[in-house]
């Protein structure tokens, strides 16, 4: 061993050469990888520009002002049901619910509030993590959806969701709306009215429109990433919190006054 380690001028030189070769190889690899990544990012950007694909530039979200939401009003639920053709199909235990109206009461203070709870469009969504087929996914703009073409109806996502936001369709459906395909054997939830939002940002989700029509204006839709957006400025002004913020899911739906 010692004999091998003893350095002669010859071995020193070849060792150095080898080190230099390895270092250069590493540098070359790093350059290649980083330039490929850059190219890929650029290609994706270009694809988004030419095809109109959504990007992470925007992140859609909702601000729900609970001080404006009144108990007993279910305009948002009705608006949502009408928009997506959700009828009173099936029985009470299995009926699809994209929005649930929940009445809360603080036992200590006795203060009451009423809130609509729908898919919270989490940034790190548990439903996406557990889906075995990749059907539950998050769009680049933060909207969490079910790709019903690949959903196998296993309902893992329903188990994983802390907000009980998803429904499973148990019965054969008829009279679906063109913009809202729904069918037996798949899981579904609030889509943040993706078909409206993709058409125009001014077309607010159906729940927000219904709430405004009812003169409550408790639901505000907008871009969470843009500090100048109506949503972001309002959030900064009145403050908003997440439901179960302890789970650190970074929800897209925020509540004021909870």
């Amino acid at each position: 061993m010692q004999k091998n380690n003893s350095s002669s001028p010859q071995t020193d030189k070849s060792l150095l050469a080898r080190r230099r070769f390895l270092r250069n190889l590493g540098l070359l690899g790093a350059t290649a990888v980083s330039s490929f990544t850059l190219l890929e990012v650029k290609a994706r950007e270009q694809k988004a520009n030419t095809t109109g694909a959504v990007t992470a530039e925007k992140r859609w979200g909702l601000l729900i002002d609970t001080s404006k939401c009144s108990s007993g009003c279910d305009a948002c639920v009705r608006g949502c049901n009408e928009e997506h053709g959700i009828e009173n199909e099936g029985n009470d235990a299995t009926r699809a619910q994209w929005i649930r109206k929940i009445d809360l009461k603080d036992k200590l203070t006795g203060s009451e509030s009423s809130v609509p709870v729908m898919c919270q469009h989490c940034d790190s969504a548990p439903c996406v993590d557990v889906c075995p087929t990749g059907a539950s996914f998050k769009r680049a703009d933060g909207i969490v959806l079910v790709n019903k073409h690949t959903c196998i109806g296993c309902r893992y996502c329903m188990m994983a969701c802390p907000y009980k936001a998803r429904s499973f369709i148990h019965e054969t459906l008829t009279n679906q709306k063109p913009a809202a395909p729904r069918g037996k054997g798949t899981v579904e939830s609030c889509t943040l009215c993706v078909h409206r939002v993709d058409r125009s940002e001014d077309l607010q989700p159906a729940c927000a429109v219904a709430c405004t029509d009812e003169a409550h204006s408790a639901i505000l839709f907008g871009d969470l990433n843009d500090p100048q957006s109506k949503l972001a400025t309002k959030m900064k002004e009145i403050g908003a919190s997440q439901v179960r913020a302890d789970l650190q899911l970074n929800t897209g739906v925020r509540y004021h006054g909870l």
Partner: protein, 171 residues
Amino acid sequence: MLRSLATVTHRTIVSVLCAVMLITTAGFWFAGAVAQPVIVPAFKGEQCVADTNLMRSDHMKLLDHQRDDTVIDGVRGAPYSLIGCVDCHAQRSDSGAAIRVDAEGQFCQSCHAYAAVKIDCFSCHAAVPEQARQIGLLPDNPMPHAEINRVMSLLKSTDYHAKEQQFFTTN
């Protein structure tokens, strides 16, 4: 006696076998008798989104490709949409109501019945155009709410075709 009985049994077996073969392969011998599909011309529109032969052979490839773009990447308004198919190809009954494209003898179903391919699309997707869509409310052309209500009330009141005419002439 024994020999003749054996011959009879043998003959019977052979003839029964022949009959069974003829019956089981009847579909093959009389294939020409299956009725050709009746392809109903589109209810509206003059030109399909692609050449007829391409549409016949590859409509699912076009639809599948665009479906992924739309669902996952949010690409809207591309030409090969299922809503677009239904929009043009759904026929109207005498009463003016839209007929499902997957109903017997209708555009999708007549070919699919002939080819013995089950259509899965319409267990989830709408097989008739939406009322508002019938008068040209396409995704790229959103109408103000008041206008939609006006048109919807027109449609509900009486005959669809007459009202469509009225709508297009007044606008």
